[in-house]
């Protein structure tokens, strides 16, 4: 790189510290581990009131009348509001506007908000709820998603004609979206029987994925403060400030600029904060009472306060040649969206387009349904749609390998996609996709030692059952399994997705300093750190301040779909480049370089302007003096297309990500208990922005997939959640979470900033089927339901009702 013909740069620290590729400390890290970080539930204001929500006790009922007079008479109560008090639009929604701010006419799920109260004490607010009388006529719940999808006689959750129609989604009856995909002979109208004749070996399977919860730790909370201009300021833990604003303002009957949002401390999100919870309620009460109003759901309420992962039932058929070459695949998936659409249309779009996974299959037929039922609403959760499908198609690949007597990794390699392959929507994978190499690397990773060679083989912490002392080695069988998942990254299907960044460079106290302002939600993923790293790298300035995220700057889009490093990272990079150009213009203006000196030879490093030819030209402090340079930029990813509603063709995705997992488990085959011994991952992330945070994302996503494999399920019976607590909704503890070896590849995506690929979701896909495959390997059981229950392992019917 260094050339002898150029003068060595003088007084230049070679690279700016803590830029991209380094692992600087996250600015919120110390506060979080010492317990000092202010989460949204910690906010407090003099004079504030406490909000509380009356929720429907029934999954499905007609509302005959609401009497709030008893609640209003309670001293300390400032307001009791119902749907009649909603100032503007009565309904909102992420994709379809179908969800009432407060129920009117009917309630469609147990826990649906019916009335809200503001009082001077949370206990008073709670008591006021008990005094609201709601007269219900209970209706039959619509609990069976399959029936909702396929039976035209199934009762409707939403009355005919009550919703705006979305024909592009084949929306009809209880179907929120129906997406078929037909390729190869299926596109020409061939029947399954005809296509089946092309294969030597056929395997079928039915699989289920249970309703998973995001299980964030910070419950829904926020503070709404009425403003003098008749508007409202809302401090809120969310994933996307502007989409909240876009939904809240019409319901309040206010223009968007009168509803200003600032991000409050977010205690985890994982998709659960993509929909509104208490936002409109808090604003309504604040505007009504003229006082700040705070809401904090408790843990139980939180289970009713956010959407969950769609439970899915799937039917697959795969046909292959004797040598393992896949010939055809059919898939039918029914995704239970519950009472309101939320992200269901997008979930169907993902589940269908990625429905048979990262495999080359000439003839494919997919039918994907997302439906309304009177079950709890389901929507975004890490890896949505792709997680459910991945459990199905990976289970099928193992079944096919067993049928063929082939090694499951070899079968996957044989049919693996690569750069240039087309997925079933016809979209080309136009970025590196070294799937075969990734599988080989996963297989070649060293295996954990056998139990017998452990230093303390009888240490209960190494055994299934843990310290509860269920085995001293009896009944333990080891198993190994693999999983691969293909995930779309960034928003899909024609959405004009963008992010906005404002970057300011100025001299503060004699030093150059950068301020970065975006509306992007830091939900724990570490975006605040990455924004700072990008600014340091691009502007060669170490001192970077990240302003709080709010709606005073343009939308950043959602902290979901693994998209923020790409999108907001891209926006910060672009804004920094614009600032840099202006710095270089200033350099030219000052005559520090000759006219015609190409920008390409200039750079910013160590707080100085450097020329590749002449070394340091000037420090930024001297160049700028009192002047500040500020630029705002929007970053858009390349356009995508809607899937066509009849054959599901179209380049609907922005980017693809992939992770491969190998799981090693010890199973107590008599008791049905599992200890995951190792959960190793190979992932291609294009470019590592922050190694430590990347490891955190991969390990966290793997653990969330482990939860879905072995324990996490919201149990719903006739529309009623039976385990709305962390006592009975189990998530993995440290004793359930094995050491994880991570092998990261960096094949850059030419379309993405720095070549990076969203990294937060792909491991959530592959970890679940890898673990279940390992348990199958140890037990020989079919295990078609995720999570696997002890009953399934020992061959006893799971609990009913």
């Amino acid at each position: 790189m260094a050339s002898t013909s150029t003068r060595a740069p003088v007084g230049l620290s070679s690279v700016t510290r803590d830029g991209i590729g380094a692992s600087p400390r996250r600015p919120d890290g110390t506060l979080k581990v010492t317990g000092e970080f202010a989460y949204s539930s910690d906010m407090w204001m003099e004079d504030m009131l406490w909000g509380a929500t009356l929720r429907s006790p029934h999954p499905h009922a007609e509302i005959l009348g609401i009497d709030v007079s008893g609640a209003l008479r309670l001293p300390g109560v400032y307001a009791v509001l119902t749907h009649e008090d909603v100032p503007g639009e009565k309904r909102y929604g992420l994709e379809y506007r179908d969800q009432p701010v407060l129920a009117f006419g009917k309630v469609r799920y147990k826990g649906e908000p019916v009335a809200i109260v503001a009082a001077d004490h949370p206990e008073t607010a709670r008591r006021a709820l008990e005094r609201i009388k709601v007269d219900y006529r209970v209706l039959e719940p619509v609990s069976d998603a399959r029936r909702a999808a396929l039976d035209p006689d199934c009762p409707l959750v939403h009355e005919e004609g009550s919703l705006p129609l979305h024909e592009e989604h084949n929306q009809r009856g209880n179907r929120v979206r129906y997406q078929p995909i037909r390729t190869g002979a299926f596109a020409d109208g061939a029947s399954v029987e005809e296509v089946r004749a092309l294969a030597d070996v056929v395997v079928t399977g039915e699989y289920e994925v249970g309703m998973q919860d995001q299980a964030f730790l910070g419950p829904e909370s926020g503070l709404a403060v009425p403003a003098e201009d008749g508007g409202v300021d809302l401090y809120i833990a969310t994933q996307w400030l502007h989409v909240d604003q876009r939904q809240i303002a019409p319901c309040l009957g206010l223009p968007a600029d009168k509803v200003r949002l600032t991000l409050a401390g977010v205690g985890g999100a994982f998709g659960a904060r993509e929909d509104l919870s208490m936002q409109i309620h808090a604003c309504m009460l604040a505007l009504h009472t003229g006082k700040p109003v705070k809401f904090v759901y408790n843990r139980e309420e939180s289970f009713f306060g956010h959407v969950h992962r769609h439970p899915a039932t799937m039917r697959y058929e795969h046909g292959a040649k004797r040598d393992g070459t896949l010939v055809y695949a059919t898939m039918e998936i029914v995704l239970d969206g519950g009472a309101y659409a939320s992200a269901t249309p997008a979930v169907v779009g993902v589940a269908s387009s990625l429905g048979i996974g990262p495999y080359e299959v000439p003839h494919v037929s997919v039918d994907a349904y997302g439906v309304y039922t009177t079950n709890p609403p389901c929507g975004a959760m890490r890896g949505f749609g792709a997680v459910q499908a991945c459990f199905g198609y990976e289970s099928q690949m193992d079944r096919l390998a067993a049928e063929l007597g082939m090694d499951p990794v070899d079968l996957r390699i044989k049919n693996a996609v690569s750069q240039g392959s087309r997925i079933i929507t016809g979209q080309e994978i136009d970025m590196p996709m070294p799937m075969a190499e990734m599988l080989r690397r996963a297989r070649e990773m060293p295996l954990p030692p056998d139990r017998s060679s452990l230093p303390a083989p009888s240490d209960p912490r190494t055994l299934p059952g843990g310290v509860a002392n269920t085995s001293h080695g009896e009944g333990i069988v080891r198993g190994i399994g693999y999983g691969v998942g293909l995930k779309n990254l960034c928003f899909s299907e024609g959405f004009d997705d963008y992010s906005t960044a404002r970057v300011r460079l100025e001299v503060v106290g004699g030093e150059p300093a950068v301020t970065v302002h975006t509306a992007a939600a830091e939900v724990g993923q570490g975006l605040v750190t990455v924004k700072g790293q990008i600014a340091r790298t691009e502007l060669g300035v170490e001192r970077v301040t990240i302003l709080p995220s709010d709606t005073r700057v343009g939308s950043a889009g959602s902290s979901s779909a693994s998209r923020q490093s790409y999108m907001t990272g891209g926006a910060v990079k672009t804004a920094c480049e614009a600032v840099r150009e202006r710095v270089f213009a200033l350099v030219r203006e000052r005559g520090l370089v000759e006219d015609g000196h190409p920008d390409a030879l200039l750079s910013l490093s160590g707080g100085k302007v450097v020329s590749a030819a002449e070394g340091v030209l000037i420090s930024l402090a001297d160049l700028l003096g009192g002047e500040a340079i500020e630029e705002t930029r929007e970053y858009h990813h390349r356009p995508t297309q809607m899937l066509d509603p009849s054959r599901g063709q179209g380049s609907s995705h922005t980017q693809f990500g992939m992770c491969v997992h190998r799981a090693v488990v010890d199973v107590d085959v008599e008791l049905g208990l599992v200890k995951v011994v190792a959960l190793d991952a190979v992932q291609d992330v294009g470019k590592v922005m922050h190694p430590q945070q990347l490891a955190g994302q991969i390990q966290g996503a793997s653990a969330q997939g482990l939860g879905l494999a072995l324990m996490e399920e919201i149990q719903v019976h006739d529309g009623v959640i039976r385990n709305p607590s962390f006592t009975d909704y189990l998530i993995p503890t440290i004793l359930d979470t094995p050491p994880m070896r991570i092998d990261v590849l960096e094949h850059p995506d030419p379309h993405a900033p720095y070549g990076l690929r969203g990294a937060g979701e792909p491991p959530t896909l592959s970890s679940t089927p890898a673990i279940v495959a390992a348990v199958r390997n140890a037990t020989g059981r079919p295990l078609t339901h995720a999570p696997v229950r002890p009953e399934d392992i020992v061959g006893i019917d799971p609990p009913q009702g």
Binding site: N469, T727, D736, R789, P790, V794, P798
Partner: protein, 289 residues
Amino acid sequence: MDFLSPSTWEEALAAKSAHPDAVPIMGGTDVMVELNFGRRRPPALLDLTRIPQLRDHGPDDGYLRLGAGVPYTTIIERLRDRSPALAQAARAVASPQIRNRGSVGGNLGGASPAGDAHPPLLAVDALVELASVRGVRRVAAREFYHGPRRTARRDDELISAVLLPEPAGPQSFSKIGTRNAMVIAVASFSLALDAQARTVGTGIGSAGPTPLRAIEAEKFLASEFDWDGAASPSPATVTRFGELVASAARPIDDVRGSAHYRRHALSVMARRAVSWAVTDYRKEIARCA
């Protein structure tokens, strides 16, 4: 809600007598959850944390006396040899934070059928000491559990201690949960052998409306066990013991597991417990020889 905070045991008993509906609070790991979830709105809380003797433990006439407020952590760290099954159960309770506060007295006060302390107390034939201004009485754990969350404790009584007989043979406790730590029992089982009396004790948790004993299984194993030589019981004997334990359970289907699985798991735990007892018993014989 009143908060009564006596600093002596006498004051506590007087307060409980004056306010029989006051809810005692020790570690608070059950009480606070119930308050937070709004399941309970008692007129008064009776704070027992300031009474030093509730945290005492020591020998008492052939028993280990364990103050009702001794936290699980202390049992694990200091009393393992004198209460092996209970210490194993204590180790299986919740997380370090909860074990630092939670107590056997609290477990008995709530009397949840899933409480981990109950099966060992049944198996070893412990006594529960109850006190009121009217006096002190000791009730066998085996007589203590009357129905779902109902016990022999009267409204004006507080639990002062449990008394555990000196261990006279192998003891164990096992608990099934669907994760490897911090889980409420799906089913649990405790076994205690008394080599002097040549008796067997059992305790079953989370598989009936109350903690249960498997009395037939106890008698069966006591008669089949080789008390002199600790020869391995036949597979048929072990299987039969497992069946008898399972059949003593009265489980239901619930969110944590099916009745069928609970019975199955109990039979497996019971079989394993017998084989561990045999091994331990042999070691004991070898040591004494």
